[in-house]
């Protein structure tokens, strides 16, 4: 059940011009309320912004006296700019835990596929999953592949493949090409867990379906309430129904999503 929680900013680290690593003291959101990676917090970004901003949870930890939660975000507009200006000791009004998470209950081997700012929500799955896993991480350019993030996958996954759109680091090209190569060699993945921009999710879902590997995707949509009441965050399904990113998602079965809507 979600609650309203006042969090205190524990630390702010700037990763590059627009990307921030923010750690919050988050009451008992993790230990009592079960907050975990892949879910999101709906954050009030000052009085100037009416709507809260959804930000994914990257890393969670039980701690005393308060749990710790790391968010990794990019400045895109006024709300995230305000968030980036927070200082340690400042407080944040958040709603959480919100949304579902990737389903990793099936034993087996998992393939994690992240793109850009969609990589952080996979960190906990890369680090803590009880099953063997491989990671494919895509970035626009090499300088966006922050070692403090990629190393967490490299240290815990069987293999970690880096791709960049401009070829400045790792494989030149999009993640779906790397995913295709992997699936061609070995189809035994239990599931693909993907998070990133919609075009990336769509192409990964297509490859997954070609090789009949189950695929879960974490989708973004503009939100109002963040808890399932206002119905603004609609994600169309193949069967013609609407699901909602904040309540039914953000993680959906790629087979259910209407990618052409």
């Amino acid at each position: 059940m979600p609650i309203q929680q006042t969090c205190t900013v524990a630390s702010m680290t700037q990763l590059d011009g627009v990307t921030w690593w923010m750690t919050l003291e988050a009451g008992k959101l993790v230990s009592d309320h079960g907050l975990s990676g892949g879910q999101f917090l709906h954050i009030k970004c000052g009085d100037g912004q009416l709507l809260r901003r959804p930000i994914s949870v990257a890393i969670t930890g039980w701690d005393e006296p308060e749990d710790l939660v790391t968010l990794i975000f990019e400045v895109r507009g006024e709300g995230t700019k305000w968030l980036s200006q927070r200082k340690p000791g400042d407080t944040l009004d958040v709603l959480g835990p919100l949304g579902n998470r990737f389903d990793v209950s099936q034993p087996g081997r998992y393939l994690l596929v992240g793109g850009g700012i969609g990589v952080p929500p996979l960190i906990e799955y890369g680090e803590r999953l009880q099953w063997p896993r491989t990671a494919v991480l895509g970035f626009r350019t090499g300088s966006k592949a922050f070692p403090c993030i990629t190393s967490r996958f490299q240290d815990h996954c069987e293999q970690t493949f880096l791709c960049t759109d401009d070829g400045s680091l790792g494989r030149h090209g999009f993640v779906d090409a790397q995913v295709r190569d992997l699936l061609e060699k070995e189809k035994s993945f239990t599931a693909i867990l993907a998070c990133g921009p919609k075009p990336m999710l769509k192409s990964v879902a297509k490859v997954a379906s070609e090789f009949s590997v189950p695929c879960q995707v974490s989708m973004e949509e503009r939100m109002g309430c963040g808890i399932g009441a206002c119905l603004v965050c609609a994600v169309p399904m193949k069967d013609g129904t609407m699901k909602h990113a904040c309540k039914d998602g953000p993680v959906f079965d790629a087979e259910e999503v209407d990618w052409d809507a």
């Binding site: 059940m1 979600p2 609650i3 309203q4 009030k44 912004q49 009416l50 709507l51 809260r52 709603l95 949509e221 503009r222 939100m223 109002g224 309430c225 963040g226 808890i227 399932g228 009441a229 206002c230 119905l231 603004v232 965050c233 609609a234 994600v235 169309p236 013609g240 129904t241 609407m242 309540k247 809507a261």
Partner: protein, 338 residues
């Protein structure tokens, strides 16, 4: 601490020479004792334990916000707009932020009136809160059918939405044309056994014209305002943010329009009014009540703060105390126009 508190200058002057301690000089204005204030109001014969209702479409059917507080804290719940058959609504994006407001184009996504009666109403009826069903139809006959089924199912009141600007068929036209608004009202009244409240659109030249037509057709109450048609364009892509291009504006930005329209309508007709549009504080709610509303609804403010309706309620009670009123309903129509 003391310097952050606000106070009436007269209070200070009046007590300064009395040798009061600073605690007495600076009473905390935040939490006056409001326990003696009667918060109950009457809306067209439906008794509400307090004047704060949640606005249709912003509160679903109560399940989600019910995780934050007991629904019985509210005066009433206006449910998400229902149609005769289930609807999937409009494509996303369905929301855009604007200065102190939001635009939405949800488009009446809902499980249909029968789905509501089977799966949502029983849960709501388990809470000690009045249930107001909000309905939209494509034809006057559809309004009639829905009123019949909802009355039989035991809702406390029906809010007839003739103003939702999002659905191309029907919706808009009823709310902007007096004769159509009257026709729908008559149809609803002749099929409902519970009070019928007609929700007016602000997207008209003269809202009192529609209000009079609806009152003459037998409505038991009026609610206003629904959202105002608006638009926001992303300059770099030159595309509207909303997939439907235009949507309905709500939130603090519309409050002054809501206050003006409630006042105009209250002057024009003698029906009880549920006022809404941009309410996020007790002060906002008091404005609508002074302008003539018997109760107020809180919508968009929920998205910033799930507890907004309860804060509005407590704020109203505090205003009643400040103004020495024994009951909040004494605010209704209390405006002193120039």
């Amino acid at each position: 601490m003391h310097e952050e508190r606000s106070f009436e200058p007269e209070t200070i002057v009046g007590h300064a020479g009395n040798g009061c301690s600073s605690e007495q000089l600076f009473p905390a204005p935040e939490s006056p004792d409001t326990s003696h204030v009667d918060l109950s109001v009457d809306l067209a014969g439906v008794p509400l334990k307090n004047p704060v209702v949640v606005a249709s479409g912003t509160f679903g059917f109560g399940r989600e916000y019910g995780q934050f507080y007991d629904l019985s804290e509210l005066g009433a719940i206006c449910c998400k707009g229902l149609t005769l058959h289930p609807r999937q609504g409009n494509p996303a994006p369905r929301i855009a932020e604007t200065p102190m407001g939001i635009l939405n184009s949800v488009g009446l996504q809902n499980p249909g009136v029968d789905g509501f009666i089977a799966h949502e109403l029983p849960l709501l009826q388990r809470s000690d809160v009045k249930v107001i069903a909000n309905i939209s139809g494509d034809t006057p006959e559809e309004y009639g059918v829905m009123c019949e089924r909802l009355s039989a199912a035991g809702v406390d009141m029906i809010e007839v939405n003739i103003s939702c600007p999002n659905v191309k068929a029907g919706g808009m036209a009823y709310g902007t044309r007096p004769e159509l608004a009257a026709e729908v009202t008559k149809m609803a009244k002749s099929h409902a056994t519970v009070p019928v409240m007609v929700k007016l659109s602000p997207n008209v030249t003269d809202i009192t014209e529609i209000a009079r037509a609806v009152a003459d057709a037998g409505a038991d109450a009026l609610s206003l305002i629904n959202t105002l048609r608006g638009m926001r364009i992303d300059v770099s892509s030159r595309r509207p943010i909303l997939k439907m291009n235009v949507g309905g504006l709500s939130g603090p930005a519309v409050l002054p329009i809501a206050v003006r329209m409630v006042w105009e309508v209250a002057c024009a007709v003698k029906l009880p009014i549920l006022g809404m549009g941009g309410v996020s504080t007790g002060e906002d709610a008091a404005q609508l009540m002074l302008a003539g509303a018997s109760a107020v609804a809180v919508g968009t403010a929920l998205f910033a703060d799930p507890y907004a309706p309860l804060k509005v309620r407590d704020g109203l009670a505090a205003i009643a105390v400040q103004q020495d009123l024994s009951a909040v309903n004494m605010l209704t129509g209390g405006i002193r126009p120039w």
